[in-house]
Amino acid sequence: DEIGLIPCPEARYNRSPIVLVENKLGVESWCVKFLLPYVHNKLLLYRQRKQWLNKDELIDITCTLLLLNPDFTTAWNVRKELILSGTLNPLKDLHLGKLALTKFPKSPETWIHRRWVLQQLIQENSLPSLVTKGNLGPAPVERIHRLVQEEMNVCSEAAGRYPSNYNAWSHRIWVLQHLGKLTVKVLLDELSSTKYWVSMHVSDHSGFHYRQFLLKSLIGRTVTDNNVLVQNQMVNEQNPSLQKEEESAGAEAACAEEQSVDLPRRIEEELELCTELIDTYPGHETLWCHSDETLNNSHHSPATSHMAQAMDVDGLNESSSKQSYTQETKRLKRARMQDSLGPEMEYRFIDKILSTCRDADQARFATAYRKWLVTFLGQ
């Protein structure tokens, strides 16, 4: 379940450099300068059609290469060909990638190949000829759910191995978008399962950015659901005979089993998390940044806003409204009636920090945040 290099500049004994202990694979460093050029060369000769390699040899060689250097695109591409020809089980590549990531948690090519493999796997699921009885395993939905969970684990581990691991967190977002379909359930599950992780990595901007992505997706999702429900209601009022059709169409977005999201509560919880972490760990810019933006979200949450306009689920406004973003903010602020998040609470929190903190960075962030509160809340 893990690979690593054992610093060992010279072969002391006449034995294999491969060490396997407790399911961890180690390679003594002295052998790399022999092994890597050897396998690399073999693969190149194959690619140049100068030396044939059969399927098993190809699988072995690419596997070795990728565990030594997973950014070797050609090796991943050879495996793509093997997968497409049906010789290699795509799940093997998920495992190989996972292993490579234990040593190379950022490896761009590994993440890229992983997405290709996952796309192959979902396509398989959507083939009408796929039969899900008997020995072909669980139903596609269950299978996809498992794939998603596994990807969340792989991302989490890679994120833990390298601070602010952009590629790992980007992959995580991609999986939710393309495999998880950004359902409310998966978004809420992820919010809850990453809460502990980000609390243990308070400088990890990527981790907190992920939570922003989740929150904004929830906001977008709720707006879409509300829009669909409103549309359904309108249609039903006009045409009772069409009711059944519309209901099933709307089921995708607002089906009975999908929880209704208590958005204000989620956002409040997020702010509480920020407050707690800012208090406990002074001086981390990411926490302040996250806090700012979470407060921002509360003013765009449709549950507290009259405006039911659909927003991009990836949290970006349409380009045409880019310049009017500030205007929008001001309008929403004035339009909103109930604000359960109490700006007074924020001021009290800030003033407490300013009067008790001894960390220069924390004081600076708190001062900036206070200025921003004044401007933003206009109070």
Binding site: S164, Y166, S170, H205, H209, C289, G315, S319, T326
Partner: protein
């Protein structure tokens, strides 16, 4: 990143057509996120490298107005480290010499764009970052005694960091061009580098020569030859 490479190549070689980049500018704009910076694809974290590429591509496509320039400016100016003087690539990360170009270069692009929109509050002598502090970081912290430049002290040299530290140094030393050109050189005059073109990061005269050269060539037809 890919959009910038494509726009860069197409514009220099005179094969840029609206059809080639239909929808590209809008897609890049979608990569700008709540932080103000730009990520690799829509939804991703704002990142110095991608932000530079996105903005430079939009400059080439003349569509910078699709971005929220104010939040972008807000984001990038906060990326200069108050102690080190160099730039970080993302919030709460460490300084890295290569961002001397990606972030500082980005600020020069923004400067021009904002000036073109009629903003007269802009300085006519200095960029919107501390040019001397950046030069200090590069010269004092990013040089390898054996030659070449690097990310930060303790890291080893490589061509990528050598390229972008030097590019960043050039950006920090030269404000504007032509009549508005204003130099700020830290240390001895020998430290002075030639100016670099903020969009293509090659010499401005080279950009001019390349454009001229390709303008004189026949434009290849999109149909495959027989």
């Amino acid at each position: 990143r890919s959009a910038y490479c494509a726009a860069s190549v197409a514009s220099l070689t005179n094969i840029l057509t609206p059809a080639l980049f239909a929808g590209t500018a809008e897609w890049i704009a979608r990569c700008q996120n709540w932080e103000g910076g730009i990520g690799g694809v829509p939804g991703m974290e704002a990142h110095g490298g991608y932000t530079f590429c996105g903005v430079a591509a939009l400059v080439i496509l003349k569509q910078e107005h699709l971005l929220n320039l104010r939040s972008l400016l807000h984001w990038v100016t906060r990326r200069q480290m108050r102690f080190e003087g160099g730039f970080q690539g993302r919030c709460n990360k460490l300084v890295d010499g290569c961002y001397s170009f990606w972030q500082a270069g980005l600020l020069t692009l923004l400067h021009r764009t904002l000036y073109a929109t009629g903003d007269r509050a802009l300085s006519m002598t200095h960029w919107m970052f501390d040019q001397l502090a950046l030069q200090e970081y590069i010269l004092l912290c990013c040089q390898c005694p054996a030659g070449g430049l690097l990310d930060k002290p303790g890291k080893s040299r490589d061509f990528y960091h050598t390229c972008y530290c030097l590019s960043g140094l050039a950006i920090a030393q030269h404000f504007g061009s032509g009549e508005l050109h204003h130099e700020v050189i830290l240390g001895v005059p020998e430290n002075r580098l030639q100016a670099t073109h903020p969009v293509y990061n090659i010499g401005p005269e080279k950009v001019a020569r390349a454009v001229l050269h390709f303008l004189q060539q026949p434009v290849p037809s999109p149909e495959p030859t027989a």
